[in-house]
Amino acid sequence: MALKIVVCVKPIPDPAYYKDITIDPVTKTIQREAIPTIINPADKHAIEEALKIKEKFGGKIITLSMAPPNVIKNIHEALAMGADEAYLLTDKKFAGSDTWATSYILAKAIEKIGGIDLVITGTETGDGGTSQVPSQLGEWLKIPHLWNVIEFKIKNEKEVYLKTKIENGFMEWKCKLPMAIAVSREINTPRYTTIMGVMKAKKKPFQKLTFDDLNLDEKRIGLVNSPTQAGNLHLLDLSRKGKIIKGSKEELAQFIIDNLKAGGISVEADPIICSCEGETGNE
């Protein structure tokens, strides 16, 4: 039973830089060009899950990304982890697509690849963070799908057993392939790339697909045709006065106790006395 698996891998601007994001005062657009891209962290768990399945049952892992053309580095990383083939969907016409349009484009690409048994995604992205694409992709493909999968086991004859997360617990499911799953972060620990993997990655099949390669309705994709439209943007000013307090460990601990009291928290505390005699102890 060799499985053909598509893993959706999104290159995103590195979250370590989000605090520096600004809005251009004139064009009112987000300035993020300078931020390097990384593989969306949740998607590494998706790649890992595919690798584990392949190790057990054999098959082929195809990564699918929709992004501007300059993300080859991220795609090579996914291949270096062990994926077999990569597709990059890249076209100016795709830019600005909302989750409706994005999932539609991804689905058309998966249909073009054809014969897929399993689609794996992460649960959320670090940039947009809507969590909506996985379920919408499953809808377009008209296959069963589950979000936030914490356990995935293939039994005989493509019958699968799954667990998904819910508030304070989990649900258990049975299903048959083909299906689409969005895996939760706790399902596995993604492997690191090896030097061998990195060397092999550059020789693996990699293909770019554009609008012309896919059977898409142009009136339903991109920024202007997406059902949801972006209005005003606001940068959040999260800063506070940030008064720096330095002192001995005793002074810092006492500071915390005093402020808990000031904040209306009932504290029955003994005064903190310095253990190193003679310094601040008797003040």
């Binding site: 989000y18 963070g129 969590s131 304070n168 059902p227 720096i244 928290i265």
Partner: protein, 330 residues
């Protein structure tokens, strides 16, 4: 074209979920902002729903659609989505609100594809514009940026909101019209996906969202031993312990439900005490509304100090034992 505002009602062990209750309150508020308002409509799907209907009718629902059947007892996405799609096609609502819970986060976007409309995810605020349309404010880039999302050309205008973002509503008396949904058409739906079990456990201690003091620990707490100190201090103060993602990954914290941030809980306690947290946008957006923010970090340059009222430069490993001692914890 009506201006009805619909709310999908989710249940947690036969009770209304917090997210759904908050959304009912929000629907009442949004309706009051509209020039030509419609009705507030709740949709309940499940089995043995009479108590739930009672509750929903006490919080402003003027009309309640009830799909009550044994096979709807456990959430099955195809059934639930089919019922919502059926009702939406029939009634053409103006707005549909859904909790961004584990179930709602799947169901909402599914229904949006089936009825061909847009959905705004994880909204932090909902507004009504001059044309009585919905303006949904959503976070991006870990919450650093907020953007208005509109859905001008498609109906219903859908939005999801996480639990704990909106206020808990007051009761209001309205005459609710209860409409049973004929679900015979479900015999045509043959789901390949079968829910076979559910397991829930009550988390112990004060819920993070309700605690007056939250002690948050990050990667800098360093080990399980010092994490225990956080737990003991929080218990003594009648508060709760929150965590960042790395602390969750290390297995120190009690679980995912204690993570604070864009992917976790949003909290607004009287006092937030952070230990060994660097101040990533993803975390700060979950605690920024706290009244007083005190952070302890050994790095004087730590980003978290910019987002705090007080930044204490010091080593957690020295400060925690002193706090324990002072609070009389052994």
């Amino acid at each position: 074209m009506n201006k009805d505002i619909w709310v999908f009602i989710e249940q947690v062990q036969s009770n209304i979920s917090g997210a759904s209750l908050e959304l009912l309150g929000e629907a009442v508020r949004l309706k009051s902002k509209m020039k030509n308002p419609g009705k507030i409509v709740a949709v309940i799907i499940g089995s043995q729903l009479s108590e739930l209907i009672q509750v929903v009718s006490m919080f402003g629902a003027e009309k309640i659609y009830v799909a009550d059947h044994r096979k709807l007892r456990l959430y099955q996405p195809d059934y639930y989505a089919a019922i919502l799609t059926h009702l939406i096609h029939q009634e053409d609502p103006h707005i549909l609100l859904i909790g961004a819970t584990y179930i709602g986060s799947q169901l909402g976007p599914m229904v949006a594809i089936r009825v061909d409309t847009g959905i705004a995810a994880h909204c932090v605020e909902l507004k009504i514009d001059d044309n009585d349309n919905l303006v949904a404010v959503v976070p991006a880039f870990g919450g650093k940026l907020l953007g208005d999302i509109l859905c001008p050309n498609y109906r219903p205008q859908m939005a999801s909101v996480k639990p704990g973002i909106l206020e808990k509503p007051e009761r209001i008396e309205v005459q609710s019209q209860i409409v049973p949904v004929d679900i015979n058409f479900l015999s045509l739906v043959e789901p390949k996906l079968k829910p076979v079990g559910i397991c829930c456990h009550e988390p112990k201690g004060v819920p993070l969202e309700q605690a007056e003091v939250v002690i948050c620990g990050g990667w800098g707490v360093g080990d399980a031993e010092h994490w225990q100190m956080l737990e003991k201090i929080a218990a003594k103060l009648g508060g709760a312990v929150g965590c960042t993602r790395p602390a969750l990954d290390e297995g120190w914290s009690q679980g995912e439900h204690t993570m604070v941030g864009t992917s976790g809980k949003s909290i607004r306690p009287n006092v937030y005490l952070g230990f060994g947290i660097s101040g990533s946008t993803h975390h700060v957006c979950g605690m920024k509304d706290s009244k007083l923010i005190i952070s302890v970090n050994k790095d004087e340059e730590a980003e978290i100090f910019n987002f705090s009222d007080f930044g204490l430069v010091g080593d957690i490993k020295e400060i925690l034992p002193l706090l324990m001692q002072s609070l009389g914890i052994s």
